[in-house]
Amino acid sequence: RRRADMFVIVGRSEPLYELELSGGSGASASGNLDQFIIHSALDMVDTALLQHTSLFLRTVDSFGEKFVSAYVTPSHVKFMLLHERNKNEDTIKAFFQEVQELFVKITLNPFYTYDTAITSKGFDDRVRALANRYLA
C-alpha cells in the first residue's frame, strides 16, 4: 500500500523546501495533488495560529485519508507534513523539532538569506535522514 508523505517548509510568500517521501511502489502519481493539499492547508495553519500559542499545531487540515500537520517557528516559517493517519503525534512533533534545529542552524549562516529557498545539500541530507528515522 503506497504511502506518500510530503514535507514542506513554507516561508512568508513561497515554499522554501520540499521533500517527497514516497514509500512503496513507484513515484507518487498524485504529486501535484499533494502540493495542492498542503497549499490549501496554509489558511488553516493561520487560523490555528490565532488560537494556539504553541509551536506545534498538530493536525490542522485533512483531505480524504490524508492529514496535514503543522509546526510554526517563532518567525512564522511553517513546517508542514502531509501524512496518513497512522502517525503518532509525538513522533511528528519530534520530527518537526529536529528539523527546527537544522533550520536555526541554516538561518544563522550569514551566507543564507532569510526567507529564501533552502538549497543546501547538507540540510537536505539531514532532513531525509530524520524523515527515515521518524516517519518511515
Binding site: 509551536l55 517557528t73 517563532p74 512564522h76 534545529e101 536555526v104 542552524k105 532569510y114
Partner: protein, 261 residues
C-alpha cells in the same frame, strides 16, 4: 587505487623529488586536505607535475567531495545550538562595532543614512536571534499574539541574551496609542563611542534598535524602532545621556490588536 591506499604504499620511481611534505594540520580539515594533495589520477612517477596542494584541492573540489572527505568534514549542522552561554568580551565587541561604524560612516551620505544602515544591520541579526533563543527554550517558548508580551520578551529575554541584563524600563506612550518606549541608560553599543558635535543627535544604538525591529517584525509585529538620545538636564551631575528606543507599531498591528480585544 583509492587515494588513501596509495598513501600506505611506498612512493614509486619517477623523478627526483616527489617528496611532498605532509605537514600535520590539526583539526577536522586534516582528512580533506590530505586527500586534496593526492588527486585520483596522479601517476606516482612522472615528476614535474608540480601540483601544489592548492591546485589539487581545487581539482578535488570540482569533482565533488568523496565519501572519505565527508566523514571528517564538520558542517554547520553538527554544531550544537544549545551550547551553554558564552560570554564575549566587551572590548572585542567594542573593536568590532567601532569598525562597523567607521565602515558605514564612509559609505553613508547623511546622519540619517548612517543610522539607517546601522538599523538595517541589526534587523538581520534580530531575525536570527529570535529563532535561536526560541530554539534554545523550545519547551517553554510560545507564540506571542499580543504586542505587550512580545515587548516584554524583548526587554527581558532578548536584552539578557544580548547585553547581560534587562532593559531599564518599558513604557507605553500616553499620547500615541501605537508607541512604546524602552529605556536604557548605558547602551553597550555606545560605551566606547563619543559622538562629535557635528554629528548632532546621532545615536549608534540604532544598531540595537535594528535588532529589536528585526525581532518584532519576525514575530509578526511590524514596527519602526528608533534609538533616540534623551539629554540629561544640565545640573544632573554624573548622569550620562539616556537612550530611548521608540517603538512605533504599524497600523495593521494595531488593528489586529484591537480585534483580539
Amino acid at each position: 587505487l583509492g587515494s588513501w591506499l596509495r598513501r600506505l604504499l611506498p612512493r614509486s620511481g619517477g623523478g627526483a623529488e616527489q617528496s611532498r611534505p605532509e605537514p600535520e594540520q590539526p583539526g577536522a580539515e586534516v582528512g580533506f586536505a590530505r586527500h586534496a594533495r593526492e588527486p585520483r589520477d596522479a601517476d606516482g612517477g612522472g615528476g614535474g607535475r608540480g601540483r601544489g596542494g592548492g591546485e589539487a584541492a581545487r581539482a578535488w573540489g570540482a569533482r565533488g567531495r568523496g565519501p572519505m572527505a565527508m566523514e571528517s568534514r564538520r558542517s554547520i549542522y553538527d554544531r550544537d545550538v544549545s551550547r551553554p552561554r558564552q560570554e564575549v568580551s566587551a572590548s572585542a565587541f567594542g573593536f568590532l562595532f567601532s569598525e562597523i561604524v567607521q565602515q558605514i560612516q564612509r559609505q553613508a551620505e547623511s546622519i540619517n543614512d548612517l543610522e539607517g544602515r546601522l538599523e538595517e544591520m541589526g534587523f538581520g541579526i534580530g531575525v536570527k536571534v529570535l529563532e535561536l533563543l526560541a530554539a534554545r527554550d523550545r519547551r517553554n517558548y510560545r507564540h506571542k499574539h499580543k504586542l505587550v508580551p512580545c515587548l516584554r520578551f524583548v526587554s527581558t529575554t532578548l536584552w539578557r541574551y544580548l547585553f547581560g541584563r534587562d532593559a531599564d524600563r518599558l513604557e507605553k506612550s500616553s499620547e500615541q496609542d501605537n508607541e512604546y518606549y524602552i529605556y536604557e541608560k548605558d547602551p553597550l553599543t555606545n560605551r566606547y563611542i563619543s559622538v562629535p558635535r557635528q554629528y548632532g543627535a546621532l545615536n549608534c544604538a540604532a544598531f540595537a534598535a535594528g535588532i529589536v525591529c528585526g525581532v518584532l517584525d519576525a514575530s509578526g509585529f511590524t514596527a519602526k524602532v528608533q534609538a533616540v538620545t534623551v539629554e540629561t538636564e544640565p545640573g544632573e551631575a554624573g548622569e550620562a545621556d539616556q537612550t530611548v528606543y521608540v517603538v512605533k507599531f504599524d497600523e495593521e498591528v494595531m488593528r489586529r490588536e484591537a480585534q483580539l480585544g
